[in-house]
């Protein structure tokens, strides 16, 4: 056994006889063995205090119960709605027909009651409105140049004047 193999064997619970014999003839490994036993006793003495939470099982159960709460999909909601018709005293397929009929009636009512005004009167195109606003702004600027008192203080005043115009 070479020195590395000998030192590696110290990690085992029971090092082989050859490793023990090696120590008799190798001063470096003897010194390393001293350090090894010293290290082992130091590690043995390191016992951090473990404080166990008394309610771990309870906390786990609570967490698992939260996870178990079903997140209902649209499909399962519709299925659930159909299943709620189970209480109705209709035999077999009649129950399904009654549920489907009610659903269909609700949809038809919804369509009839839908407000039609929005479709009849289309909103003005926003782009056109913006163009009109810009044209009005230009027109106001042009008007301001006809008033010497206002036009002396350049753009700022013009901006303020136009903004006042638009606030009204």
């Amino acid at each position: 056994m070479n020195c590395r193999q000998v030192r590696q064997s110290w990690m085992d619970a029971a090092p082989p006889v050859a490793a023990v014999r090696h120590l008799e003839s190798c001063a470096r490994c003897r010194a390393a063995w001293e350090q090894h036993t010293h290290m082992q006793s130091a590690l043995d003495a390191w016992q951090p205090e473990t404080r166990l939470p008394p309610d771990l099982t309870l906390r786990l159960r609570r967490q698992l119960a939260l996870e178990a709460k079903p997140r209902r999909s649209v499909g399962s909601r519709i299925r659930g709605w159909f299943e709620s018709w189970d209480g109705v005293p209709h035999p077999g397929r009649l129950r399904l027909a009654a549920a489907s009929g009610t659903l269909l009636a609700a949809i038809c009512l919804g369509i009839l009651a839908w407000p039609h005004t929005a479709a009849v009167a289309p909103a003005p195109a926003p782009a056109r409105g913006v163009v009109r606003d810009l044209q009005a702004l230009n027109h106001d600027r042009g008007m301001l140049t006809n008033f010497p008192l206002l036009s002396t203080s350049a753009g700022n005043t013009a901006g303020a004047a136009s903004s006042t115009t638009y606030a009204n």
Partner: protein, 207 residues
């Protein structure tokens, strides 16, 4: 999912059914109480492992809770292809190493020592407890051991703790760390060499 990899990865290992595996199988069959029994049985060793590895009581508590949640969630997929603890520590090591990787920047300064009571005990107190000076020296001594272990790279640290404190065999440590047995032996050897050097100057524990 890691649990899938775990159950698959352990194929070929010894199929001896130990106490943990027996409980897990009964839990799998629907005996919910067996899950609580598993928690009670492995909570302490698992907390000790996490505490040594992450060195923060609050974090180790959360990680232990996470390990058991994963055990619960993967009950359907569990196959007793190795010792139950091998499977358990593989989940634990995976979670702990992930945590350490994600929080490398925040070096925990938390001490794992027991809190000192105010005033302490006078030297040679009549109740036989060590005096304050001895206790302070012990605390410093423990801090140095702790620091030596903390200085190891994360995988080496996990390997040493599994080998030294959880008393696991090379094969089990290899499975927990997802390494070959020879790679695990080399990893452990390097770790012990570093520790040997670091703890060389440390005198025997005071008192």
């Amino acid at each position: 999912m890691i649990e899938d990899q775990l159950t698959d990865g352990l194929a070929g290992a010894s199929a001896d059914v130990d106490a943990g595996a027996a409980l897990m199988l009964r839990f799998q069959q629907g005996e919910e109480a067996c899950f609580d029994a598993l928690v009670l049985r492995y909570q302490r060793p698992l907390t000790g492992y996490m505490l040594r590895l992450v060195r923060h009581p609050g974090v180790s508590e959360e990680l232990v809770q996470d390990v058991f949640l994963r055990v619960y969630r993967s009950r359907e997929r569990y196959r007793p292809q190795a010792r139950f603890t091998t499977w358990l520590y593989r989940i634990a090591t995976h979670l702990a190493l992930n945590y350490l990787r994600d929080h490398r920047a925040e070096a925990h300064q938390a001490s794992l020592d027991e809190p000192e009571t105010e005033g302490g005990h006078p030297p040679d107190a009549a109740d036989g407890r060590p005096g304050i000076e001895t206790r302070l020296m012990r605390r410093e001594w423990r801090r140095r051991v702790q620091q030596a272990i903390a200085s190891l790279p994360e995988r080496q640290r996990a390997a040493v703790i599994l080998h030294k404190y959880q008393e696991m065999e090379y094969r089990e440590i290899a499975q927990a760390l997802q390494l070959s047995v020879s790679a695990t032996k080399s990893l452990l050897f390097r770790a012990y060499e570093v520790l040997r050097g670091q703890l060389e100057q440390l005198e025997a524990m005071p008192g």
